[in-house]
Amino acid sequence: MSGKKRQSQAVELYGADLRPSFWAVCVFASLFIHVAVLGFVAFSPWAGSDEQWRRPGDTIDVDLVSFNPETPAPPGNEDAQAGGESSPADTDDRGAPVEDSGEESSSDSGDGDEQAVAVKKGRSRNVAKGYDLKEPSSGDSSDSEAEEKEPVDPDKVLADAVSRLEEQAEKQGRSSVEDRISRLRGEVEDEDYRERLRQRASQGSQGAAPSGDLDPLEVYQAEVAALMKQNWAFSSDMAGENTKGLEARLIIKITGDGQIEDVWFEKRSGNSYLDESAYRTVMKADPLPPLPEGQSQYHLMLGFTPGGLRH
């Protein structure tokens, strides 16, 4: 009986005196467990790559960009061919030209996000088909690839440019010619700089220690920046509005051998021409030089800001 009595006492004590400190312990224990679980979820290696954060799964099959000669031509082309055989229509026809295959694609290009998503998927497939890519193993593949694209002899470029400019000198006036020559000279020097950077980076990727204290990734970034600039053609007149202050931001996923496996917009500029031109620039620069040794993939954010164009 006494035991029972004590027990009920204890219950009472527990209910009355111990309650505040016990609940405090409970709260902190709960907090600790939550923190631990959330932390585990957030930083665990199984949490998934960032792509899963961004890529909606249901758009995988929409392939707006892949193009190869085997795919059947859009129906409009058949019309165009057929039209040639039938006797040509009367002259009134020219006022209302026949719409051809372009219609669908052009309307699609207005849709920003869906296409960006589709590009991601289509792109990685396209790499295999559309691009005749070099074997990843060859260390200097990017060098020869880039040189194939643009065989540049600085002296010849300069000489050609000078002679061409001299022809125009009468029209344009001497001062502007000199301006342009000095600008071209700057570009050629830039070219040399790019070359040096590339050599340095490829040394790094071949295992030799990079000269100086430069972080191999920083060198790589500089090289990518130079390559992007080299490939970027942007007409501010074509953009229409003043593009100063606008930025098109893309993220590229680079594989160890330098291929751009993925590209998507982190932020669109609001000017569709600028966005397109940034996208094309990335496509033109692909493949990039191999990543520094030890790096199997690398995400890089590229911000295209044409502000430097306007004075």
């Binding site: 960032d50 372009g102 694209k149 800001t305």
Partner: protein, 443 residues
């Protein structure tokens, strides 16, 4: 108990917030960032293999060559594109088709062509059929595909229609290739209003030669031109109807009748009249009656030019002692001075698509063309060097500017892009050419 429960809830929320805020922030920061701010080229590399003859015969071959040349010249004229040298092509276009299934876009990516145009021409008797396609080699898509049918005489028109579509699909703007340029041409005593296409082709004289002819101005529908001609010993405003080929006296008030400018969205036009003794700008109705007095100052007010929506007007006034460009809000009547630099800023022309105003200004004795933003007042000079550069006028899409320059002696017409690049002569015509006005897009 509820207090305890609330305490737990708040603690959990705080814990979640503390955990998740830096985590979501790190989504942005986990990428290295590089900035690219200086494009290497300011023209888009475009590849255009020769157009194919799709039916038999020499005349078709010739038509294909003609179409090719017209398109290449017209697209280059915009200053947007750099045509990729044919020698760089990796495939012989002679052996390649023009439809998407015949083209391997990799061949065009590899030479750096960001755009590709293919074309084909067939001909039967006097009927010409042409099909053109615009490809985006990097997106791997056909941006545009069009087929045109017409008589052989309409070839240029058909090619220009496609050029217009190309520019529209790339920039969203249109109108350049459908526009014309009017100007005053001829020696003293033989002056007349002339008109030519946007690229200087199809030059025609519109009015009969006179002693003094100035300031032609296109109506918003492009169907007529207002201009000033000296008759009965004072300058009067005439309107020339292009369809009828006839001029009609529009305004001949006492004193001067000068610098007409049509108001967008109305039938009326603004002009400088002096029948009250002082030169002020008045709004006239479609029949030439005075509708409203717009400016009222002791000085001379001339050269009105309207904003695209017709709600504001730029004009020149010497009310501050020297000719300067002012902007008037037509609703409120408030006037603000726009130009302060230099002692002589005249001939404003308001862009048909934006708030930019081009004008000619004198600085250190040189007359040059400047562009100024009507809102911010930010300005830049577009021309420099030898000779005077005057009387600028915007193309209907706001992408180009026509102006008069004496850089090679006589005043002649030149064109440039809106940022002042690619300056060149518009047309090969003897004698002086002055006061150009670029038409609105043909309806």
């Amino acid at each position: 108990m509820t207090r305890v429960f609330r305490f737990c809830l708040i603690t959990a929320v705080i814990a979640a917030a503390v955990l998740f805020v830096p985590f979501s922030g790190s989504c942005q920061d986990e990428y290295d960032y590089i900035n690219i701010s200086e494009p290497f080229a300011d023209k888009i590399p475009m590849a255009m293999p020769v157009f194919k003859a799709l039916s038999e015969g020499d005349t078709v071959e010739q038509a294909a060559v003609n179409a090719y040349e017209i398109m290449q010249e017209s697209l280059s004229y915009t200053g947007y594109f750099k045509m990729v040298d044919r020698k760089a092509f990796l495939v012989d276009p002679e052996n390649q088709g023009i439809t998407p299934k015949d083209i391997n876009l990799k061949n065009w990516r590899d030479i750096g062509a960001e755009l590709l145009i293919t074309g084909g021409v067939r001909r039967k008797a006097d009927v010409l059929q042409m099909e053109f396609r615009l490809f985006d080699p990097y997106r791997g898509s056909v941006l545009l595909g069009k087929r045109y049918t017409g008589s052989t005489g309409d070839q240029r028109e058909m090619v220009l229609k496609f050029c217009s579509e190309v520019i529209r699909s790339l920039t969203g703007r249109r109108g350049l290739f459908e526009s014309r340029i009017a100007f005053v041409g001829g020696e003293k005593g033989q002056r007349a209003v002339y008109a030519c296409d946007f690229d200087g082709q199809n030059l025609v004289r519109l009015t009969d030669p006179q002693d003094i002819v100035v300031s032609p101005a296109w109506s918003p529908d492009g169907g007529s031109l207002a201009y000033t001609e000296y008759s009965d010993d004072h300058p009067n405003i005439y309107v020339f109807d292009l369809e009828a080929g006839q001029k009609k006296r529009f305004a001949s008030y006492e004193g001067i009748n000068l610098t007409p400018a049509w108001q967008p969205g109305s039938q009326g036009l603004a002009a400088t009249l002096s029948f009250e003794g002082d030169e002020n700008i008045y709004l006239l109705t479609g029949t030439g009656k005075v509708d409203k007095k717009l400016t009222d100052s002791w000085g001379v007010d001339v050269s009105p030019s309207f904003s695209p929506d017709g709600s504001r007007m730029a004009f020149v006034s010497n009310r501050s002692g020297s000719p300067q460009v002012y902007v008037m809000d037509l609703e409120s009547g408030s006037v603000s001075r726009l130009t302060y630099d230099g002692k002589y800023n005249t001939q404003p022309d308001w862009s048909p698509v934006s708030d930019k105003i081009v004008y000619s200004g004198m600085k250190n004795g040189d007359i040059n063309i400047y562009v100024i933003d009507a809102e911010s007042g930010e300005k830049s000079r577009l021309t420099s060097g030898k000779g005077s550069n005057e009387a600028p006028s915007w193309s209907p899409d706001g992408s180009m500017i026509v102006f008069t320059s004496t850089r090679s002696g006589l005043p002649q017409l030149y064109v440039m892009t809106a940022s002042g690049t690619d300056q060149r002569r518009l047309l090969d015509m003897p004698g002086p050419q002055k006061l150009p006005d670029w038409s609105p897009a043909r309806q």
